[in-house]
């Protein structure tokens, strides 16, 4: 339970950090398209990587969300 809360906070922190960086020159540098990956320019491949990372973070966050203990969460959890 305590770990869940910590992991949830880490997920929130990572998601916010990643989104701030995604809209900063770190991921969208003006006029820069190097380094390339599989021929794709930097903004595109790094953007794809950000998206995959965000899906993973979101998935982990769903497993530790503070609302998991709420009755709205679902029957299966209550039985566990």
């Amino acid at each position: 339970m305590k770990n869940d809360k910590l992991i949830w906070r880490i997920c929130c922190g990572l998601a916010i950090l990643l989104m701030v960086l995604a809209f900063s020159p770190v991921f969208i540098p003006t006029g820069v398209f190097e380094p390339k990956l599989f021929g794709m320019p930097y903004t595109l491949w790094s953007g794809i990587a950000v998206c995959i990372a965000m899906v993973l973070i979101t998935y982990v966050a769903t497993l530790v969300h503070p609302g998991r203990r709420d009755p709205l969460f679902g029957d299966r959890h209550e039985k566990n």
Binding site: C12, A15, M19, A22, F23, S24, P25, F27, I28, P29, T30, G31, V32, F33, K36, F38, G39, M40, P41, Y42, T43, L44, G47, I48, V50, C51, I52, M54, V55, I57, T58, Y59, A61, T62, H65, P66, G67, R68, D70, L72, F73, G74, D75, R76, H77
Partner: protein
């Protein structure tokens, strides 16, 4: 190709109508008809959420965005969508909790929810005004986009308005018959069609330019500005991208066709799974549009948007695939537009003051019909800037966000009486800036960004003042 289209189209139509007739028997009261019984599972939830979210704008607007403005289009939509799915699991929980509490287990629409929370009818009316003003043009551009495209594919077969009328009639028939559940089942089919079609076309485009690496190497020699932000026309500036991300982040709460899907999920577990699924779907559906856009940048850099789309999606494809593309496009447009029109009906019902359920349902159905006709008329006069008009719709409804989030997170929103009035002023200022009556930028800041910042700060200040008085 017309023969292929007729065969594929007929099969598609039969499936849509059959599902509606199947669901008709189950939809007898308002809850079954307008809220699909309020028990949406994660798989159906994923497809209906995705089909509602990814519209004509994805299939037509995004390839053209990649073609003319470059790779920043990925950040514009895909990265913003990732912020949105995290927002769904973070704020969605609190939204469902409050919305279901206020509605005693049922959620009838954002306007009704706000009326109850603020104990003020104006709050609901402002929300309804905002979604009506910014959703009708969005529905209209879906109809117009596909009608223009069909006119390109079959010149002289029907006038553009004829295609629009057919689309609206199909949409109205199946949603009026089967209600939201029919729309949701049809969304699932339409979402799958959209995903399959866009990948086949994307791979076909990629194949004809020799693959990703060869394509981008050639583009570097031809127009290197497309390989980075802000793109050759400077559209994807940091401010534009951030403004778009904020607007997209708010969609699940500010666009009623999406928020209703969160509220009617069976439970939070289903909503969480749906959110992760939508994130994956977003990556899968946007990636091939980058390939189609790359193909367009190399082969058709100087064509108009519809000329390029007609060429890349129809004329350069085998006729059977082209027929599926057209059905995919219809599916994308219909699945978003029907949900939006239906949501407008639900929003209207949520602020109606009638005791009788049957009477309210009848009035709502009439309202849905009227909204469809208004959208149809608007589609005949609207512009063809699909992606930009969609963004304007997101930005417009996002101005409701401070009022909505205050209702979700603050225990006594009824103390924030000024917020609905300020939101109305914000909406009017934004409409004024779109019409050119009010400046579109102040001190270098875009009007939409400035207004949402101002409304956000005001909401925080009002809450702090109300807490101070407690």
């Amino acid at each position: 190709m017309l023969q292929s289209l007729l065969i594929v189209g007929l099969i598609y139509l039969v499936i849509l109508i059959s599902i509606s007739l199947w669901q008709r028997k189950k939809a007898s009261d308002s809850k079954s008809y307008l809220l699909a019984g309020g028990s949406l599972g994660s798989v159906l939830g994923l497809f209906t959420f995705a089909a509602t979210l990814f519209s004509t704008f994805t299939l037509l607007g995004m390839p053209d965005f990649f073609r003319t403005h470059g790779v920043g289009a990925w950040t514009f939509l895909a990265v913003s969508d990732m912020a949105m799915i995290f927002g769904v699991i973070w704020a969605g929980f609190y939204f469902r909790k409050k919305a279901l509490q206020e509605g005693q287990g049922n959620y009838w629409g954002m306007a009704g929810f706000l009326t109850k929370c603020y104990e003020n009818r104006l709050a609901g009316l402002v929300a309804f005004f905002g979604v009506f003003v910014f959703l009708i043009p969005y529905v209209a551009i879906q109809i117009k986009g596909v009608s223009d495209f069909l006119d390109q594919a079959f010149p002289d077969l029907l006038p553009i308005w004829g295609w629009s009328v057919i689309m609206v009639v199909v949409m109205m028939v199946y949603s009026e018959i089967g209600g939201l559940k029919a729309i949701i089942y049809n969304d699932a089919i339409q979402g799958l069609i959209l995903l399959i079609v866009i990948w086949i076309v994307g791979l076909s485009c990629l194949n004809s330019i020799g693959g990703i690496e060869a394509g981008y190497t050639q583009l570097e020699a031809q127009n290197p500005e497309l390989l980075s932000t802000p793109g050759p026309r400077g559209l994807f500036s940091a401010q534009f991208l951030i403004g778009s991300a904020v607007a997209i982040l708010m969609i699940p709460f500010t666009q009623p066709q999406v928020s209703i899907r969160l509220a009617i999920m069976k439970d939070n577990r289903a909503m969480y799974r749906m959110a992760v699924g939508v994130g994956t779907f977003a990556i899968l559906v946007i990636l091939p549009t980058a390939f189609i856009g790359l193909y367009g940048s190399l082969k058709y850099p100087d064509m108009s948007a519809f000329e390029f789309l007609g060429q890349a999606l129809i004329r350069d494809q085998p006729s059977t695939l082209a027929a599926f593309v057209l059905i995919g496009l219809l599916a994308a447009a219909i699945s978003t537009a029907d949900s939006q029109i239906f949501a407008l009906g639900t929003e209207m019902r949520s602020i109606l003051r009638m005791g009788d359920d049957e009477k309210m349902l009848r009035t709502t159905k009439i309202g849905i019909g009227i909204f469809a006709v208004v959208a149809l008329l608007f589609s005949i006069v609207s512009s063809d800037q699909l992606a930009l008009l969609a963004r304007t719709s997101f930005a417009g409804t996002s101005l409701l966000a401070p009022m909505i989030f205050s209702a979700i997170f603050y225990k006594q929103p009824e103390k924030l009486k000024i917020l609905p009035v300020a939101t109305l002023i914000g909406l009017l200022l934004f409409i004024g800036s779109l019409l050119g009556v009010v400046p579109s930028e102040i001190l270098g800041l875009r009007m939409d960004l400035l207004l949402i910042l101002a409304l956000g700060i005001l909401a925080f200040a009002l809450i702090a003042m109300a807490k101070g008085k407690e």
